[in-house]
């Protein structure tokens, strides 16, 4: 089986020793007005693992995600990525540092073709600007060639190359989700964040998605996965962090999480006679 490196020819080292921390959040807090959406959440993402972030609706999963990827500014706490804090740097710089994400509600550029969507992802690592493009400088031409080769390879990798020339908005739903993953991989991330990638999928599509995520991990990427589907989360993740009402209530390997009374209570509720 061809790996992402084989097909996409990565320019940077995305691997590192497995086990050490790639991302650390410390007391991460996000407030919306008076609402504390995320309350002192602390967890680590280790290199090379698939970390699941789960919790009931409104638990703060996507908020946590947005705080890590720079969409929201945390009210308190820190995020340390790859040894350096993600302080007040801009969103596009966070991508260059090596965090890429997909969106829960698909956000592709509809009027662009699938291939062009992925090429914009590769552009995050390119340096040609206006003068180079006007004069068709050698670097511009090299980057252009490299971009379409890698983008086409990534479309093959996620399995939608035959639709590469269609507008993104005309792609079937499942292919749009795959396209989002290809676009995120094109930015050559160290950490790939998937926000409910299986939403709206049927069982067969979910199985294919698990295969794809495993393949991405096997290629040395670190994955942060938000997902509702328990079977999918239990089947694919190495460790799981559980949020409820903005707080972390549990952390551990899937088998521990399955037995954890707090998690069971959060998902199933607590019988009345056990409420203190």
């Amino acid at each position: 089986m061809s790996s992402i490196e084989d097909v996409a020819g990565l320019h940077r080292e995305v691997h590192a020793a497995e086990g050490e921390n790639l991302l650390e959040t410390r007391d991460l807090t996000v407030r919306f007005g008076g609402l504390v959406a995320l309350d002192s959440v602390t967890f680590d993402i280790r290199r090379g693992e698939i970390l699941g972030l789960i919790g009931p609706n409104g638990a703060g999963k996507t908020t946590c995600f947005n705080a890590i990827t720079g969409v929201y500014r945390p009210a308190g706490g820190t995020v340390v990525f790859d040894g350096a804090p993600l302080g007040r740097i801009k969103r596009h710089q966070i991508t260059r540092r090596g965090i890429a994400r997909t969106f829960q509600n698909i956000r592709l550029w509809g009027e662009m073709t699938a291939l062009e969507n992925v090429v914009v992802g590769t552009d995050a690592r390119h340096r040609t600007s206006v003068p180079g493009a006007i004069l068709r400088s050698p670097r511009h031409r090299r980057e252009e060639r490299d971009a379409i080769e890698r983008a086409a390879a990534l479309l093959h990798f996620v399995g939608i190359a035959d639709r590469g020339e269609q507008k993104a908005k005309n792609l079937p739903y499942g292919d749009q989700r795959r396209l989002e993953i290809a676009r995120a991989l094109a930015t050559e991330p160290k950490l790939l964040c998937l926000d409910e990638p299986a939403a709206g999928f049927n069982q067969g599509e979910k199985v294919a998605l698990i295969e794809l995520i495993n393949k991405i991990r096997d290629d040395g990427y670190t994955v942060l996965l938000i997902e509702h589907d328990m079977r999918l989360v239990m089947g694919v993740t190495d460790r799981i962090v559980v949020l409820e009402f903005g707080r972390k209530i549990a952390e551990g390997v899937p088998s521990q999480i399955r037995e954890d009374p707090a998690v069971i209570a959060a998902y199933l509720g607590v019988p009345d006679d056990e409420v203190q």
């Binding site: 097909v7 720079g70 662009m112 552009d123 493009a133 252009e144 379409i148 190359a161 590469g164 676009r183």
Partner: protein, 390 residues
């Protein structure tokens, strides 16, 4: 293809044919096409000739408006930034040339102490005009491009008015409403025609000064098309379209949105300034009334009619908004001079377009990849290993 489908997608077959041509064939077709358009004022077909006004002059105006449409299309069509004050850049370009070369201007560089020589004055002012308008785009864009949508539109509208009001009120510099006369123009062919081919004295015959300005404008349009085309098929053009489609997603995917929006503004402004320089040279007189806000709306009308984002489409739009009023000038219907009704016609045309064809006469299908043709082969090339796995 049914007749209706053809009507709904007028550019599709043309686009397919064009996309199938090799690079050399494209250049050949382009050059032949431009020569044919250039010959138009010399051999005007009877029905297409403008009866009330010189055809050469009309086409010169068209070439300038086409440049404006190309520039505005970068801002509005590609990057999706609604700019209602584009005429401001046109004015800055025109006033730059006028202030540097008009005998009535305090900054005139053509007198004994000036740095410009009469022969080359206009040409040397063109890059200055482009640079100054580009700079004004930078100055306007830096604080305002953090705004989005309606807010940006309002601020740019204000900018267009500010430039016109400055020109109207800075009496000591621009002579206010009296304007600046005697602007420099290219001195070519002074041995053949008094004042040269580009002089307003060269007013008779088909190859009058209007036609010469049209030819000059046509060359500049071709250059602008090449520059903008190269930009579109690069990281820059893709960033613009991504910003237009979903700005937040673009930023999260590593696009420095502010920087590329600013570039769109500066490039659009520079092309508008070039058009203004052309205008100042042709008319040899610059006054504030030429830069009314209604012109901004007309330019926007050209872009919307032609098809936002489609650079050849917006040139057609520019042709429509310049040629039709001039063609109808002096044509009487029920005692009404149809040329006077241009704003009515364009207003109606816009309303009809918005209802039936919001994407414009020639909907865009932008080429955003330099090597789009080889991309097709890459996508078709089987990759059985990864296909089987997914």
């Amino acid at each position: 293809m049914s007749a209706w489908a053809k009507l709904a997608h007028p550019g599709d077959e043309l686009r397919q044919w064009w996309g199938g041509l090799s690079r050399h064939a494209k250049w050949l077709v382009g050059v032949v096409g431009f020569v044919l358009v250039g010959l138009f004022p010399l051999f005007p077909p009877p029905l297409l000739n403008t009866t009330g006004i010189s055809l050469g002059g009309t086409l010169a105006q068209f070439a300038m408006t086409a440049l404006i449409a190309i520039g505005l299309n970068v801002v509005v069509g590609s990057a999706g930034l609604l700019d209602l004050g584009y005429v401001g850049f046109y004015a800055v370009g025109a006033y730059t040339v006028a202030l540097l070369t008009s005998p009535a201007s305090p900054w005139n560089q053509l007198d004994a102490s000036g740095v410009l020589t009469t022969k080359w004055a206009w040409l040397s002012c063109v890059p200055i005009a482009i640079a100054i308008t580009g700079l004004s785009g930078l100055i306007l864009g830096t604080p305002t491009l953090r705004l989005r949508g309606d807010y940006l539109a309002i601020v740019t509208l204000g900018f267009g008015e500010i430039i016109r009001l400055l020109a109207d009120n800075l009496e000591g510099l621009t002579r206010g409403p009296r304007g600046l006369p005697g602007v420099a123009y290219p001195r070519v062919g002074e041995n053949h025609v008094p004042g040269g081919y580009f002089s307003s004295g060269n007013a008779s015959g088909a190859a009058n000064y209007g036609t010469w300005w049209f030819w000059l404008g046509l060359v500049l349009v071709a250059i602008a098309l090449l520059v903008v085309g190269n930009l579109e098929r690069s990281r820059v053009g893709r960033a613009w379209v991504a910003i237009r489609e979903d700005e937040d997603a673009a930023e999260v995917m590593g696009v420095n949105t502010f920087k590329f929006k600013l570039w769109a503004f500066v490039i659009g402004a520079g092309i508008g300034g070039l058009s203004g320089a052309l205008y100042a040279g042709q008319v040899q007189f610059v006054a504030p009334t030429n830069f009314n806000i209604i012109n901004s709306m007309l330019f926007l009308c050209a872009v919307v009619l032609g098809g936002q984002g489609n650079k050849l489409g917006v040139i057609f739009g520019a042709f429509v908004i310049v040629y039709l009023p001039n063609r109808l000038l002096g044509v009487h219907f029920l005692g009404i001079n149809l040329g006077d009704l241009k704003y009515l016609f364009f207003g109606l045309a816009l309303v009809v377009m918005m209802i039936f064809r919001p994407q414009g006469l020639f909907p865009v299908r932008q080429q955003l990849l330099t090597y789009g043709r080889s991309a097709r082969d890459l996508l078709r090339r089987g990759d059985p290993a990864s296909r089987a796995a997914t």
